[in-house]
């Protein structure tokens, strides 16, 4: 396994032929039922279809319990779906995981206390069998990328929460995985650090061409980061709307752009169920024009 292994072009698997482009990740009719057949049965995901292009940054957003984290874990092969398939660069999610195609980051930085900052970043490299010299060189490079160059030999607990999270992201990027899977990684950060980290992530993704799937609760975060925002609803977890965000290159001014607010509004409306698939199914009592609007947008997606 080398650091530079890049995904083989998708399309060899019949499942991916449904996607319009050669997708990096293809999720096809995925269902996830926990505790099936028991009284505490939960239908976490139902009929999820999603194709994510290489280098794309996609956010999953929705209320608590809508299955967005479960969907991320299905893609990561941390949970095996009860139905449907996940294809990653033409191979199964399991094979992709074993090939270390994924880098993961969670809400908690989850750094290991007994390792220095550099050693934490080198963990995936050790597991991939890199030798010491190459590991050192790579962790130096990554520390520069997340702007923590002088903290290599510090202990994780000596760093602030934001710095720890940057280390966790550097660790996720260590093996140059083609795909980054992130579960609310900035959730515990203060607003300023959070916005800084978002800008960093957009920059890193653009510089490295990494595909990112990002789970979040925050609408502005999803809009700022993503090319597309996938809106989900709960019980059962399903995709109700996919908002395409056309904001161009992100800068400090992006968050004050009227187009940014328009996109935030669109995602918020979708979360409230006023637009999207759910709205068309349930909004019989709603005003006729709003209903027509929703149908039009839902139609655009198809």
């Amino acid at each position: 396994m080398t650091a530079t292994s890049r995904p083989a072009p998708a399309g060899t698997d019949p499942a991916t032929t449904q996607a319009t482009t050669a997708a990096a990740i293809t999720v096809t009719r995925v269902d996830q039922v926990f505790n099936a057949g028991r009284s505490n049965q939960v239908e976490a995901l139902r009929g999820i279809d999603l194709a994510i292009a290489p280098g794309e940054l996609v956010s999953l957003i929705g209320p608590s319990g809508c299955g967005k984290s479960t969907l991320l874990r299905v893609v990561a092969d941390l949970v095996e779906p009860t139905g449907g398939t996940v294809t990653v660069n033409g191979k199964s999610a399991r094979q992709a995981r074993i090939d270390q195609d994924y880098g993961m980051a969670f809400q908690q930085a989850g750094l290991f206390d007994w390792r220095s900052v550099a050693q934490n970043i080198e963990l995936p490299l050790e597991l991939a069998g890199w030798d010491r010299t190459r590991r050192r060189a790579r962790s130096r490079q990554l520390l520069e990328l997340v702007r923590l160059g002088e903290f290599a030999d510090h202990r994780p607990w000596e760093l602030s929460g934001g710095m720890q999270q940057r280390v966790a992201i550097a660790r996720a990027l260590a093996v140059e995985p083609p795909i980054l899977l992130m579960d609310e990684p900035f959730g515990a950060l203060d607003e300023m650090t959070r916005e800084h980290m978002q800008a960093e992530l957009v920059r890193i993704s653009a510089e490295t061409g990494t595909t990112v799937v990002f789970v979040t609760h925050s609408i502005p975060e999803a809009v700022f980061l993503s090319r597309r925002v996938v809106v989900m609803s709960a019980r059962p977890g399903a995709i109700t709307h996919i908002a395409a965000i056309g904001l161009g290159a992100r800068t400090e001014d992006t968050r004050e752009d009227p187009a940014f607010f328009a996109a935030v509004t669109e995602v918020r409306e979708a979360l409230r169920g006023r637009i999207g698939a759910k709205a068309t199914a349930t909004a019989t009592a709603k005003a006729a024009d709003a209903d027509a609007d929703a149908t039009a947008i839902a139609g655009e997606e198809r």
């Binding site: 941390l78 995981r97 994924y102 993961m104 969670f106 809400q107 989850g110 007994w114 597991l127």
Partner: protein, 295 residues
């Protein structure tokens, strides 16, 4: 760093002296009280819980002085030297028992981690094993040991005692290690999985280091248990040369020389403290780079 260590050690030594002085004062005061009131609580005719005559409660100073007197008539070896040799003998048994117990405990914990089926099947018996009285078990172990033909080593009685010490040490290690191995957060385990780490890699890089803060207190318990196990083992196995035998001998001759028994009991206590102090050194080495609140 060294200065801080020296300061800590000096402070500890001072505390130790303080404790000895305090115990001596209470001891002497209680004795003086009993002698003044003829063994009653002041102003009553209720007996004091412990008689204060010199045979039951020898003067505190006499006990300390006894360490520097010949251990018995016709043998010029000072008692402290004699107790130290016996302690070294017992320490070897305890240390071997401790190391084997550590290995067995870790092995059991890993096996139980590996298989939930094994954990459910094995854990109750691990607990039951500790309810069997050691005095019942010791003669059995000695009997087995005498029959044992290991081949490359000749089985010696002290080895049986080490096995008896093992029996007490593996239990806290098993429980502590199992808890520690299971302590990593789900996210940490998911991270390892996402890096394609197998079971053994996850144990080596995550579970074992994470178990250290759980393992160290368990090892401290095991260290004292190994000393107790070795002493009790010597007594019930009838092995000569260690503190256990000394305690029996001195107890039998208590009437003629009471301070000697007190001295050897103090020696046994000091051996236990030394055992814990060794684990403490390991603790410092392993936890050097961890956050303060985890220490």
């Amino acid at each position: 760093m060294l200065a801080a260590w020296a300061g800590r050690t000096a402070r500890k030594a001072l505390v130790l002296v303080g404790v000895v002085v305090a115990v001596g004062l209470v001891w002497t005061g209680y004795k003086a009280l009993g002698q003044a009131t003829d063994g009653h609580w002041p102003g009553t005719s209720i007996d004091l819980p412990v008689p204060t005559d010199d045979r039951t409660l020898p003067p505190f100073w006499d006990i300390l002085r006894r360490f520097f007197e010949p251990q018995r008539r016709g043998d010029d070896t000072q008692l402290w030297r004699f107790i130290l040799d016996a302690a070294a003998f017992t320490f070897r048994e305890a240390a071997v028992g401790f190391v084997i117990g550590l290995a067995v405990g870790l092995g059991l914990a890993l096996a139980m981690l590996r298989s939930g089926w094994l954990e459910r099947g094995l854990l109750p018996y691990v607990v039951v094993s500790q309810t069997i009285p050691l005095i019942a078990l010791a003669p059995l172990v000695v009997a087995w040991g005498n029959q044992l033909d290991v081949g490359f080593i000749t089985w010696q009685p002290w080895m049986s005692v080490a096995i008896i010490a093992t029996y007490l040490t593996f239990f806290p290690v098993t429980i502590g290690a199992l808890r520690g191995l299971k302590s990593p957060a789900p996210e940490a385990l998911e991270l390892m999985r996402s890096c394609a780490a197998g079971w053994w890699a996850t144990v080596r890089k995550l579970r074992l280091p994470a178990s250290v803060p759980y393992l160290i207190p368990a090892m401290k318990v095991a260290a004292t248990a190994s000393v107790v196990g070795a002493i009790v083992g010597e007594i019930s196995a009838g092995v000569r040369g260690g503190l256990g035998r000394l305690i029996i001998d001195y107890a039998q001759q208590y009437l003629s020389d009471p301070t000697r028994l007190y001295a050897v009991v103090i020696g046994a206590g000091l051996l236990g403290i030394a055992a814990v102090a060794l684990v403490d050194l390991l603790d410092r080495a392993l936890m050097r780079n961890r956050p303060r609140e985890a220490r």
